[in-house]
């Protein structure tokens, strides 16, 4: 009964939306809105074949590399800055400036600097995804509990060990919130970087479909993007549940009191 209920919650709204769409498109045909059945067949024809290898996988690969690099870079830089008061004071205004820049405007610049290749697309993704991770890491490191610090100090846990055993775990909840933001920014930038100058990838393909009025194909590409987003979100939640089990438990106990 309980599983039935949760399945109901999970699928309820999607089913209603599908029905609405089906009813809405069952009358006279609109060139720009395909019927559900048409979209499903187009989806299968378009994406389950060569395009999976030439467009979908390369896009996902760039996204994964870019996001992972941004996470590593953000955490390493964030630790360096967060642990040092002077560094924080010096870098904060600069970071605010760079964070305020919309990453898509960097695409033409990076095209000139890096060239038109995978490196450029990954660089665009990094340039946008690194900020939430970086700023959240700084915040997480800065707000560390002074009693925890004294505990580490009194037990001789210093330097790299302290980062590993105390600072990183303690900042993980804040860092994970940054990673979550980075994922959605990454997906957007993946598409945008491929729309400008590219010969493969999801963004490129969807723009091609648009320009050639292949409307159902274009929609099916948008569905692919949505599915990637959902998959990323599920993977994130799965990882987060594992890494932050202690945190959620702790919050539950605190809220119960």
């Amino acid at each position: 009964m309980k599983t039935l209920k949760s399945v109901g919650y999970l699928l309820g709204l999607p089913v209603i939306l599908l029905l609405w769409w089906w009813i809405g498109t069952s009358g006279e045909a609109n060139f720009f809105v395909p019927t559900p059945a048409k979209l499903v067949t187009t989806f299968i024809d378009t994406w389950f074949g060569e395009r999976m290898l030439t467009d979908v996988l390369p896009s996902i690969m760039r996204l994964v590399v870019g996001v992972l690099a941004a996470i590593v870079l953000g955490i390493v830089l964030g630790l360096a800055v967060g642990l040092n008061r002077t560094m924080r004071a010096v870098t904060e205004p600069v970071f605010e400036f760079f964070r305020a820049l919309p990453p898509p405007v960097l695409v033409p610049v990076l095209m000139l600097l890096v060239g038109i290749n995978d490196g450029m697309k990954i660089a665009v993704i990094i340039s946008g995804c690194v900020w939430p991770v970086l700023l959240n890491t700084i915040e997480g490191v800065r707000s560390i509990d002074p009693v925890q610090n004294e505990t580490s100090k009194s037990y001789g846990i210093t330097g790299f060990s302290r980062i590993r055993y105390q600072i990183l775990p303690s900042a993980t909840p804040t860092i994970m919130a940054g990673v979550r933001q980075a994922l959605s920014i990454g997906l957007i930038l993946m598409v945008i970087s491929e729309m400008f100058a590219s010969s493969s990838g999801l963004g490129f393909t969807i723009v091609q479909f648009q320009r050639s009025f292949a409307v159902p194909e274009m929609w099916s590409g948008i569905v692919v993007l949505g599915l990637i987003g959902v998959a990323l979100s599920f993977i994130f939640q799965w990882v987060e549940r594992r890494v932050l089990r202690w945190y959620h438990g702790l919050k539950e106990v605190e809220n119960a009191v």
């Binding site: 037990y155 055993y165 106990v253």
Partner: protein, 287 residues
């Protein structure tokens, strides 16, 4: 042989050179703030002999925590020094362990009970087998060997503080510093924990400096009680607690001697609160 007045020193008791395990000499701590300087500790001198259990008691705001942090090497002193085994303390020494009042913040919530107790040993590079043995022994000593896989926040306050004590004990310190460790637990748990400290102290022969604001607790636990004045802090009196070695929550606390000592310490604290300062104590320690 019991007298009205306890054996006492005005000012802190010192030991002949080489006999003390922990020496505090003319310790002074001034905090520099934007609003001006605050003198938390003016001049403290006392010694702890090997294997002693000494309680430090003083009115609130008498710089007890400041003193403890200076001794633990967590904070530098403005003047004077702390010596452990003849070595000047400049940072947290390997032979010392601290139990903090805020157990909930001192234990790492992302580590399970065993991992918390094990972490300082792991960091110190103690081999795995020995680590396991030390952790097991420490958890048994505090009566917590049945919850090793729990997270600290799943336990009650008293149990969490036991974990913190186990972590300190497993580290095998020569000096155990405790900063009002039972201030945040309920009265019944507190009594159990007091007895736990006595038993751990006896079993391991560790030297304990126990800071508290609770007069009864200081007398019940201590072999000696150091009474601090109000801020800026000096040692008001240093008395010997001549109660039987076997302490019992009911028996010991109902002894006439316990009441006498309690009266005495209470009187001293009241004097301290009213700003009484034993000037002779200062002249004794300052050349």
């Amino acid at each position: 042989m019991q007298s009205e007045n306890p054996t006492s020193h005005k000012g802190g008791r010192t030991l002949p050179e080489g006999e003390a395990l922990l020496s505090v000499r003319n310790l002074k701590k001034v905090y520099h703030t934007d609003a001006g300087d605050i003198e938390a500790v003016r001049n403290l001198t006392f010694d702890l002999g090997r294997g002693e259990l000494v309680c430090l008691v003083g009115p609130s705001g008498s710089g007890k925590t400041t003193l403890l942090k200076c001794i633990a090497g967590l904070m530098g002193s403005t003047e004077g020094e702390v010596l452990l085994d003849g070595q000047k303390v400049t940072g947290p020494p390997k032979k010392m362990a601290v139990v903090f009042q805020e157990y909930g913040r001192s234990l790492f919530p992302w580590l399970r009970v065993v991992e918390n107790v094990e972490l300082p040993l792991k960091n110190a590079g103690v081999p795995k087998e020995e680590r396991k043995r030390l952790v097991q022994e420490a958890l048994e000593a505090v009566g917590l060997d049945h919850v090793p896989k729990s997270y600290p926040w799943q336990l009650s306050g008293g149990m969490q503080q036991r974990v913190a004590i186990a972590r300190a004990v497993a580290y095998q310190p020569e000096v155990l510093l405790m900063d009002e460790p039972f201030a945040a637990v309920d009265a019944q748990t507190r009594a159990d924990l007091e007895d736990l400290i006595r038993s751990v102290w006896k079993k391991l022969g560790v030297t304990v400096l126990f800071v508290t604001h609770d007069i009864d607790e200081s007398i019940y636990l201590g072999e000696r009680v150091i009474i601090l004045s109000s801020s800026p802090t000096i040692v008001q009196e240093d008395i010997v607690i001549d109660l039987p070695a076997e302490r019992d929550q009911l028996e010991t606390r109902s002894l006439p001697r316990f009441t006498e000592l309690r009266h005495h310490v209470y009187g001293e604290i009241q004097k301290a609160k009213q700003g009484h300062r034993p000037e002779e104590a200062i002249t004794m320690v300052v050349k």
